[in-house]
């Protein structure tokens, strides 16, 4: 029996994981959503922003990361829209600005006025060096926005010249340049609060910054998005996806346990046959 389990086709495992994700998506179970303290901190911070103030939303991700981050990004943008916060969007990944357009379109900003309530400044090449420039001069760094408008003439930019006129920077991040670069060039030198919507694989790397107060809040992956939606009293993709996520985690856990049992079983059978010890 052990030999059969050792040689099981990997596609059987893919199939099991596929079903464990699909069934709860189609027929939701309704597991309770737990809100992490880092997500609550960000929610409170946005709630305390003065109406009409401005935040930077930096889409520091590629399409590969956006799939995981979209639910958190949309939940956060919905909250910013409900609080009438001006959003200055930009990207340091070349694909960032087009993903930002997608996020604006999927959020409540689609009902707001472009150029007045929000703007997508586009992409600036140079990574961390470009961020250092944006810290000093936003309009000079982006003379024209993603849609080709003169940035200096847009009402949304009124009173904003550098990052010191910004209340908070939110990096929707899956790689480099991302949160550490924002902290190094803007957060720590200028004392601007940094928050992030981040892919799960980077959460352990971000936790020291959170603990040190260099990040004031975080939406970690779909779990964070579900928590944020729960704080807002809405149910988006984050909430819907958490049932599937929980069942998939249980499935993976079961597979890890079975894998270890199989390993021990085959080891024992080899030992009893006088094989490898």
């Amino acid at each position: 029996m052990w030999e059969k389990l050792v040689n099981v086709d990997r596609r059987v495992i893919y199939g099991v994981v596929f079903l464990s994700l699909s069934i709860p998506l189609i027929w939701p179970i309704g597991f309770e959503v737990a809100v992490g303290p880092e997500t609550k901190q960000l929610y409170d911070m946005v709630n305390n922003l003065p109406e009409g103030s401005a935040v930077i939303v930096s889409m520091d991700t590629s399409p590969g990361g956006y799939g995981e981050l979209s639910s958190g990004a949309v939940a956060l943008l919905n909250h910013l829209a409900s609080r009438n916060i001006r959003v200055i969007g930009m990207g340091f990944f070349d694909t960032g600005p087009s993903l930002l357009e997608t996020a604006f379109g999927a959020s409540d900003f689609r009902d707001k006025e472009y150029g007045v309530d929000y703007v997508n400044l586009g992409y600036l090449a140079g990574g961390e060096t470009a961020m250092a420039r944006v810290a000093r001069d936003i309009v000079g760094s982006f003379p024209r926005d993603y849609r080709g408008n003169e940035v200096s003439e847009l009402p949304v930019m009124e009173g904003i010249t550098s990052c010191q006129d910004i209340e908070m920077i939110i990096s929707i991040s899956s790689g480099t340049p991302g949160v550490p670069e924002w902290i190094r060039q803007v957060g720590d030198p200028l004392g601007i609060p940094i928050a992030t919507v981040i892919v799960a694989v980077n959460v352990p790397n971000m936790t020291p910054y959170l603990q040190a107060g260099q990040i004031i809040g975080m939406i970690p992956s779909m779990k964070g998005a579900a928590g944020y939606e729960s704080l807002m009293g809405t149910a988006g993709l984050g909430t819907r996806g958490m049932d599937a996520q929980s069942i998939a985690h249980l499935t993976i856990l079961a597979l890890v346990i079975i894998g270890n049992l199989v390993y021990l079983g085959t080891k024992d059978s080899k030992t009893s046959k006088g094989g490898a010890r």
């Binding site: 596609r11 893919y14 994981v17 994700l21 699909s22 998506l25 189609i26 590969g64 799939g67 995981e68 979209s70 639910s71 070349d94 694909t95 600005p97 087009s98 586009g122 992409y123 600036l124 090449a125 990574g127 961390e128 060096t129 250092a132 982006f142 003379p143 024209r144 550490p180 670069e181 902290i183 190094r184 060039q185 957060g187 720590d188 030198p189 892919v199 799960a200 694989v201 980077n202 959460v203 352990p204 020291p208 603990q211 040190a212 107060g213 260099q214 970690p220 992956s221 779909m222 779990k223 993709l237 819907r240 996806g241 599937a244 996520q245 998939a248 985690h249 993976i252």
Partner: protein, 201 residues
């Protein structure tokens, strides 16, 4: 159930199935979608790169007469001399400048943000289990990487504790990775079931 009539949704759905089909077996649809993705990404990056050069360099140079921009434009052009063997050495100048500026900026921020502030955040009162884990965990891991003395006696126990802390961290990283990959797949499945097939809202 209401299948989408949007051509864009159909293209995205077929591309998603094409990429996911690789889990079953390598096939022509997967290779087609993969190549299209690489091509579209390269084209997209090229266009955005040109827009950056136009808006940040050539535009202000011609429209505003900002002649100082000739220096970065010339340095940028020099990067391409690496394609010509006889003058390829010229590409070292802009490259050296890029590396120098990038390193200088990163080090300036790194010392404050990733060394001083991180050390400060581990100076905590020993009044909770969390604080104790942070303080002794940090010390244990640092001692694990202290190679100037053999890890014997008390040093061995502290180093083993540091290794255990790292293993917990690796476990958390693995768990987070699984969570992230599942979230990605959930997003695509939700797209297929909701936006394409219309079997969920």
């Amino acid at each position: 159930m209401q299948i989408s009539t949007d051509l864009g949704v159909w293209i995205a759905a077929i591309a998603t199935i094409g990429i996911l089909s690789f889990a079953f077996k390598d096939n022509p649809l997967y290779r087609l979608v993969e190549n299209v993705y690489v091509g579209v990404s390269a084209g997209h990056a090229l266009v955005l790169g040109w827009i950056n050069i136009r808006d940040q360099g050539i535009g202000p140079l011609i429209d505003d007469g900002d002649w100082s921009l000739l220096v970065p434009i010339a340095l940028g052009i020099l990067l391409y001399t690496r394609f010509f063997k006889k003058i390829s050495w010229l590409s070292r100048f802009p490259l050296a400048m890029l590396v120098g500026i990038g390193t200088g900026l990163a080090i300036r921020g790194t010392i404050g943000s990733q060394i001083v502030n991180q050390i400060k955040s581990t100076i905590l009162p020993l009044n909770s289990i969390n604080n104790a884990i942070i303080i002794f965990g940090t010390l244990g891991v640092l001692i694990y990487f202290f190679f100037s003395r053999e890890h014997t006696g008390p040093l061995k126990h502290v180093s083993t504790f540091g290794r255990c802390i790292m293993m917990v961290s690796f476990g958390a990283a693995f768990g987070s990775t699984v969570m992230g990959r599942m979230a990605l797949l959930i997003n695509r499945l939700h797209f297929l079931y909701a936006n394409w097939l219309g079997i969920i809202r």
